[in-house]
Symmetry: C2
Subunit: 380 residues, 2 copies
């Protein structure tokens, strides 16, 4: 078991009717003006926006709004929001939405303290200073509500890259699972797949970290069980809450304890897919790449992959487990091949080129460009 | 699933050769003088003391030492240490040892900011202010290294009571599992039983919190598996590390998510046993009371107890699971009845009286004095 340190300073407030606490959480830290960052407007129809605004008003917090963060969020929007934040001289950034909004809020918060935030992406600069970030999460998936990461797409350069650093942990994240009851079934499935993928990025690095391995197995089984239940009944609050908490635990550090920081090659390969095909959701890309990566990599940690097959999928072989995983994702309405996603095999070389820009990729094995091509072929 | 908030500010530094980091962790927060609190002297034979002192010296931290914290630590020693801390004008308390030492360090840290620390125990005052606490943990068991609790015994009044509050989270805890390789097998077993008990105090409050329930099952199975392995081979580092991390997770908040704060009646009943019979280790008392409490309480959450029987003990009934649990504890060298611990059945009334002083006891059911007697009879 590798040495590690664990320090997660984010305060999570979780449960029904918790959104009205956001104003007081900001006020008690003596911040007076925030930039409220949001997406396309769904928070205006599900009551979240009104709850946030009422809470800010009651607490006497001023705010300025920026709307229009989209899925696979763009650097351009981050730049625009940084300008507003600086001009308006805000004390903190409040992201209200899903992972794209929160990731953008983090990039803006860091960008307010740098000349050019893209430098941090390009040069992998650890973000030590940023405006404080607050979150009201409306879609449980990425884990960004309790992690130090953000992923942003540079549209012109077709690069979807991450930044990280201790200053990117949100100060407070509010998660009210009940506001997710109205999500389309596919969004719930994507959330589960995203979280499964985060766990797997860590999981396959290990065998002897018994506590983390067993904990991850329990998280993966919980995700499968609760997504299944929510496909039946989207209003099942307890399953919604269990899934929401599992997606947070999937990337708040707990699932990676002792596992060398994880592999993350799959994420980088996926980032190429959604950088080149922005209509593909991040989790949609992961559903395509992860099964293929597992098939390609299984001999690099046979004990780890076989225990996973057995414990998570009740399967006697890795191949059978991957089949079960693809079948499950398909039943949730998610495609698991490039072909079904509308990406012809002729695009594999271009995808591999894009992914290979982020090289070195992977930890369990550092992938060559050929490895990436082989994985994409298994995903074809 | 109940609403909750989760915020654990403790930084854990975990792994081999991590103790030398303690000095820099104190120095970077600009504290200059600490009170080093320790137990009976075992840290002088296993190299921990030398590593700590070298690290403090290198970082230019002054220190004053207080020795002699014992198992089931005493209020009197806490008072004596508070006097020293005040007289020496230290900035922080550094506990080096097991749970008794760390709990005492927390009580001292809080006591330095109060007229009489016992008031906080008596009046259940939430501890909001204390000197900062640093830990170097040498025995994984109580979870105190990442929790906001401390338990101290008032010897004259025969009261073993807890305090808690946000100021009691350690600032930094260092856990080097390799220093535990030389522990007697019984201490390892006690550590595992203590952690199992912490999980169970939360666990039986729930059924529908799928993520927490499954996570707790995985932690309990990991503890059983790793203690088994360590009984065979105490020097098995990976099992030692997995067990150490499981004991931390058992009480750092994760295991109680959505579970209404847990039940804790068993802990209070146990505290009476070790308050009246201080030679009995806390985990030794829990090994006696918990199986009996489960038998007494199983009908108050039949689904929860039965899933536990199945998932943790692979048993078809709660009775069979409790038998398996007692047999396992016995194989680890731990007795599971009052009789085997040398406490005659004639003492049950006195134990019940002592425990009932802390009433109301329990959450799954608030226990009457008769309930406590019945539980102790099942433990006879």
């Amino acid at each position: 078991m590798d040495n590690f340190f664990y320090h997660n300073p984010t305060k999570v407030i979780f449960g029904k009717e918790t959104i009205p606490q956001i104003g007081d959480e900001i006020k008690r830290r003596e911040w007076k003006k925030v930039l409220l960052l949001a997406g396309g407007g769904s928070i205006k129809t599900n009551g979240v926006y009104d709850a946030v605004i009422d809470s800010l008003q009651s607490a006497g917090i001023e705010w300025v709004e920026v709307w229009g963060v989209r899925v696979n969020p763009l650097l351009e929007k981050v730049y625009e929001t940084i300008s507003t934040a600086k001009r308006e001289n805000v004390d903190a950034i409040l992201g209200v939405g899903g992972g794209s909004v929160i990731d953008s809020a983090k990039a803006v918060a860091a960008g307010c303290k740098m000349n050019d935030i893209w430098t941090a992406f390009k040069e992998k600069i650890e973000v030590e200073t940023a405006l404080p970030v607050f979150c009201v999460l409306t879609l449980s998936a990425t884990g960004t509500e309790m992690d130090p990461f953000a992923v942003i797409t540079h549209e012109k350069e077709k690069k979807k890259w991450p930044i990280s650093g201790p200053a990117l942990y949100p100060v407070v994240s509010i998660i009210d699972p009940s506001v997710q009851a109205s999500l389309p079934a596919i969004q719930t499935a994507y959330g589960g797949i995203d979280a499964m993928s985060h766990i797997m990025e860590f999981h396959f690095m290990g065998t002897i970290e018994e506590t983390t391995i067993a904990l991850n197995e329990s998280l993966m089984r919980s995700i499968i069980k609760t997504v299944d239940r929510l496909q039946e009944n989207p209003a099942d609050y307890n399953s919604r809450a269990s899934l929401a908490w599992a997606t947070t635990l999937a990337l708040n550090g707990i699932s990676g304890i002792g596992l060398k920081g994880g592999d993350w090659a799959t994420h980088f390969i996926e980032h190429s897919i959604s950088a080149l095909y922005p209509h593909i959701a991040h989790a949609g890309g992961l559903a395509i790449v992860f099964p293929a990566w597992i098939l390609h990599m299984q001999n690099y940690n046979p004990q780890g992959f076989q225990r996973w097959a057995q414990q998570v999928w009740n399967a006697g072989s890795v191949e059978t487990a991957v089949e079960a995983m693809r079948a499950k994702y398909n039943r949730w309405g998610v495609v698991t091949s490039l072909y079904d996603a509308g990406i012809p095999a002729s695009e594999i070389q271009a995808l591999a080129d894009n992914a290979f820009q982020s090289s070195p990729l992977g930890q369990l094995k550092i992938l060559s460009r050929d490895d990436i091509v082989l994985i994409l072929q298994l995903a074809a």
